[in-house]
């Protein structure tokens, strides 16, 4: 049995594409045949659950019973990776709670692998977030995700502001999610299927769908680039067993 891995995907602001990132992560691990489960904290609606109903459970991360559901099962679940999509505004409180229950200590002692995907928004508030989050993260793998799917410049016009926040944390890695054509993006939303399923031209039941080849091509190209970013930061090595995969094969 490998060490369990917990991946938090969060931001303090809504609409920065947390769920998009969580979906690409689930697709990424699925393609590598890494057993995975996910928790969606957008209780009670659950955006993530709409796309990945088989592996996703909707929870309220601030409630103790649901915390037990997530963290007490880490040792027994067959899933090697647990992805938690943290609702807007709950990243810091969640990290606080994790610190209180001793989860962060367990991560420090190497009993489990802990990674945080911090999705950045376009405001200064979102950058200040980094400082706040960083104090909890410690030894965890901390990924700052610049999500260009909704076209943000991330203060690149002002290097001083940018550097003051981005280089605060040592070992923080930057991940860039490239832009996906709006129409392709919307079409996947309408289909309510994982990106990989859309690329393979299937519907939620696994039957052949009738999606535009051009849109599928754009999604495949984009997903390939996103996964290349995950490969670059050696995300798979974090989780352990090495396996070859390629986005073209699933297509």
């Amino acid at each position: 049995m490998t060490k369990p891995t917990v991946v938090l995907v969060g931001a303090d602001k809504g609409g920065v594409g947390k769920t998009t990132v969580a979906r690409t992560l689930i697709d990424y691990f699925n393609a590598r045949q890494t057993p995975i489960r996910a928790f969606d904290t957008e209780s009670p609606r659950g955006t993530l659950k709409r796309f990945h109903p088989d592996v996703t459970e909707v929870v309220d991360v601030t409630a103790v019973p649901d915390q037990m559901k997530i963290f007490d099962t880490l040792g027994t679940t067959p899933a090697a990776v647990t992805v938690i999509d943290i609702r807007a505004g709950l990243l810091s409180p969640t990290l606080q709670a994790l610190s209180d229950i001793g989860f962060l200590d367990a991560a420090k002692k190497n009993q489990l692998t802990f990674a945080v995907f911090h999705i950045l928004g376009p405001s200064i508030a979102s950058l200040q977030e980094i400082a706040e989050t960083a104090k909890f993260v410690g030894d965890a793998s901390y990924f700052l995700v610049k999500n260009h799917i909704n076209d943000t410049s991330f203060f690149e016009w002002n290097p001083a502001t940018y550097d003051s926040y981005f280089h605060q944390i040592q070992n923080a890695e930057e991940i860039t999610i490239p832009k996906l054509n709006e129409m392709a993006c919307e079409q996947v939303e309408i289909s309510s299927v994982p990106y990989v399923t859309f690329v393979a031209n299937r519907d939620a039941k696994g039957d052949p769908a009738n999606n535009s080849f051009v849109l599928r091509g754009y999604v495949r190209h984009w997903l390939g680039n996103v996964w290349a970013e995950y490969d670059r930061v050696k995300l798979a090595d974090l989780v352990a067993p090495k396996m070859e995969s390629h986005v073209r094969q699933v297509g």
Binding site: M183, V214, G217, Y218
Partner: protein
């Protein structure tokens, strides 16, 4: 996967090398061979394929995603229809970029469609470099240099290296001087019915046109055989 039908892309990054005339010939050739054929016109301005062969041609536009869907979704459609693309110089870059990004050739091959690009050769650097770039940008598109003999003797053919069994220069014979004006009045089809009914064409011109068409069609037939043979060989090798 058996070879079903082909997509012929007539291309050049240069204007005025005879792309549209070749696309007209190819479209009429496929129709003459009894195939269903659709042509896509990626040109702006006068004397376009859509004006010459309106019954076969759809005007395509790559500037937005709706246009890209209308073109590429149709090109990879498994509908048994042979496609001809008249790729104008202005759309060349965009076409290659989009086709590469969405994996057009891979998808086409997967569906038993053979995409071939007939690249009109010219001595200028833009053409030579675009041709060289296509190898890596669209590796699964069969790249065939095409010599339009109207442009004179091709002394620059060594700048256009070829690869694979299907590789051979395609020649489009030059039309005798003074005959251009009979065929440059849009709309115009080279179909037998159209030529037979052409009262405005003198008999000697008519005969010369027929001779020219036969030569061009012979080239296209040989081209098809080479593509089929290459496809057959690669499927044998795969097994």
């Amino acid at each position: 996967m058996p070879f079903r039908h082909s997509v012929n892309i007539v291309a050049s990054p240069r204007p005025r090398v005879g792309k549209t005339l070749i696309a007209r010939l190819l479209t009429d050739f496929h129709a003459h061979e009894g195939r269903n054929v659709v042509a896509f016109d990626l040109n702006a301005g006068e004397g376009t394929l859509a004006q010459f062969l309106p019954q076969y041609t759809k005007v395509a536009d790559l500037s937005d995603i709706n246009g890209q869907m209308a073109l590429f979704d149709r090109l990879v459609a498994d509908d048994g229809v042979t496609k001809v693309v008249d790729l104008g110089n202005e759309a060349f870059e965009q076409f290659v970029a989009v086709a590469g990004r969405i994996g057009f050739a891979e998808e086409a091959r997967k569906r038993g469609i053979a995409p071939a690009m007939l690249f009109v050769i010219a001595p200028d650097r833009t053409s030579v470099e675009a041709y060289r770039g296509l190898r890596s940008r669209l590796p699964l598109v069969t790249l065939l240099p095409l010599h339009n003999e109207l442009l004179g003797h091709a002394q620059h053919r060594d700048k256009y290296p070829m690869r694979g069994t299907e590789a051979a220069m395609v020649h489009v014979p030059a039309l005798a001087l003074g005959l251009r004006r009979y065929i440059d009045q849009a709309p115009f089809s080279f179909s037998r019915a159209r030529l037979a009914a052409a009262t405005d064409i003198p008999l000697d011109v008519h005969l010369e046109l027929q001779r020219w068409l036969r030569k061009a069609y012979l080239e296209f037939r040989e081209l098809e055989l080479r593509l089929m043979l290459a496809d057959l060989q690669s499927s044998i090798r795969l097994r």
